[in-house]
């Protein structure tokens, strides 16, 4: 980043959270995972932006919003390499990486149509059995779900 940019690709944030290095095909999944559509705060979403590392990437900036660890770690499910920049007074005061929790409750759908979680008004629950490959195991019906098969509720 030593190279001087002529202009920022997305407007700078005064206070808030900037989620960077989101794979372009996952940007809107991150939006729904964090339930951003129901947030009253100013939000800037950039996608298909130039990235040296990734080719293209997405950025989401949410003004005046700081997420709890447990919430941001959900992102690890679909985009394990994102970086969260915590911004105060236009300056990055903290960079956070996401890490996958041991159990994932209520956000992933079980892909087994005969699983009880798809037939009762209840929360799903998965154990993470392989952190690096993101493989989940349904606590109820024992189905294994690999990263590519993950469907968010």
């Amino acid at each position: 980043m030593s190279e001087k940019r002529k202009e920022l690709q997305v407007a700078a944030l005064c206070n808030g959270t900037a989620i960077d290095h989101i794979p372009s095909d996952q940007v809107f999944k991150v939006v729904s995972l964090l339930n951003l559509e129901n947030l009253p705060h100013p939000i800037t979403i950039g996608n298909n932006l130039e990235s040296k590392k990734m080719g293209t990437k997405g950025i989401i900036k949410i003004a005046d919003m700081f997420f709890e660890e447990s919430v941001i770690n959900r992102i690890a499910l679909i985009a394990p390499n994102v970086v969260l920049n915590i911004i105060r007074d236009y300056r990055v005061v903290e960079k956070k990486r996401v890490s996958l929790p041991q159990t994932i409750v209520g956000i992933v759908k079980c892909n087994n149509p005969k699983c009880i979680t798809n037939n009762e008004p209840m929360k799903t629950r998965f154990r993470v059995i392989d952190n690096s490959h993101v493989i989940l195991n349904c606590h109820y019906c024992d189905l294994k779900i690999e990263k590519e098969e993950i469907i968010l509720k």
């Binding site: 087994n112 109820y140 019906c141």
Partner: protein, 305 residues
């Protein structure tokens, strides 16, 4: 475990299994003990299963308990759209224990999280049926006089057969040698082979059901190869008669060999095998009552003299 429910065979440690087997032996010696006097057991069969229900209800009756419940969900409020949660909340007001069978996978686990009343899983879809595993293991113990270091050959549908998967897990505590005999389409899923490898359990896999394999076997566990499991019916036609046990295949088998089958059988064990002293599947079903008496008393914390 939040309570003493039995949802999956994985809920039981080796010590749990041995304790239940000791209890089952006591009930085998004397099944009529009025240990459930004054207790009410609910049998909730959201999916019909006459064989399993009768076995459980016999177990409760021989223990002197009373039974409430249903054998078919079509006569209950779940057809009106009542959730499982509400049904369980209602029934645990009445009963000291719930024995349930459900067509949905994970139903028993969920029920066990909703109440402190013990739940015994009597089958949840293709997922778990732990009391079947306990009666299988009890039958192995009873016929072999031990559980350790046995040669167990499992034949037929190893892909979908839940009794097979649970038996592998249940017996994994006792250093078995497994032989898995199945057509290509119905081979044991990778995860169970990995499970064996992780625990250093020896196994062989073959598509060839031969007397040579039987001759090395202590327990021959037969299952049904079902037509509807095949995507390619040509394939089914090719293998349908390969996994059938005939009496002449037992000629040079071990003296202690016993043949088990979870039942119902169709034609995978020919009728003339029934006369062999090595055929054990009907007694195996009888052992189901003792194993279930043991599981019920253990879940309720009842001391058995």
């Amino acid at each position: 475990m939040k309570n003493k429910s039995l949802v999956s065979i994985t809920d039981y440690s080796k010590e749990d299994i041995i304790r239940i087997l000791d209890l089952a032996k006591k009930f085998d010696e004397n099944p009529n003990r009025r240990l459930l006097e004054g207790k009410v057991c609910a049998t909730l069969f959201f999916e019909p299963s006459t064989r399993t229900r009768l076995s459980f209800e016999t177990a409760v009756n021989r223990l002197g308990g009373r039974i409430i419940g249903f054998s078919d969900a079509s006569t209950t409020s779940s057809t009106k759209g009542e959730t499982l949660k509400d049904t369980i909340a209602m029934v645990c007001n009445y009963a000291d224990m719930i024995i349930m069978r459900h067509h949905l996978e994970g139903a028993a686990r969920y029920a066990s999280e909703l109440t402190s009343t013990p739940i015994i899983n009597a089958g949840d879809g293709a997922n778990q049926h732990p009391t079947q595993t306990m009666l299988d293991i009890y039958s192995i113990m009873k016929t072999q006089g031990k559980l350790d270091n046995l040669n167990i050959t499992i034949v037929g549908d190893l892909k979908y057969g839940r009794t097979v998967h649970s038996l592998i897990i249940g017996m994994s505590h006792f250093n078995p040698t497994f032989r898995f005999v199945a057509p290509d389409e119905l081979k044991l899923p990778e995860q169970y082979k990995l499970f064996c490898e992780k625990r250093n359990i020896k196994y062989e896999e073959t598509a060839d059901f031969s007397p040579e394999i039987i001759n090395k076997t202590d327990i021959l566990y037969m299952t049904r190869v079902q037509r509807e499991r095949f995507t390619d019916l040509m394939e089914y036609e090719k293998v349908k008669n390969v996994y059938i046990l005939r009496k002449d295949m037992l000629e040079n088998s071990r003296e202690n060999l016993r043949i088990l089958h979870p039942l119902p059988r169709v034609n995978e064990i020919q009728q003339d095998v029934d006369d062999s002293p090595k055929a054990y599947y009907f007694e195996q079903a009888k052992n189901g009552v003792f194993a279930r008496q043991a599981v019920i008393c253990d879940a309720l914390g009842i001391n058995v003299e």
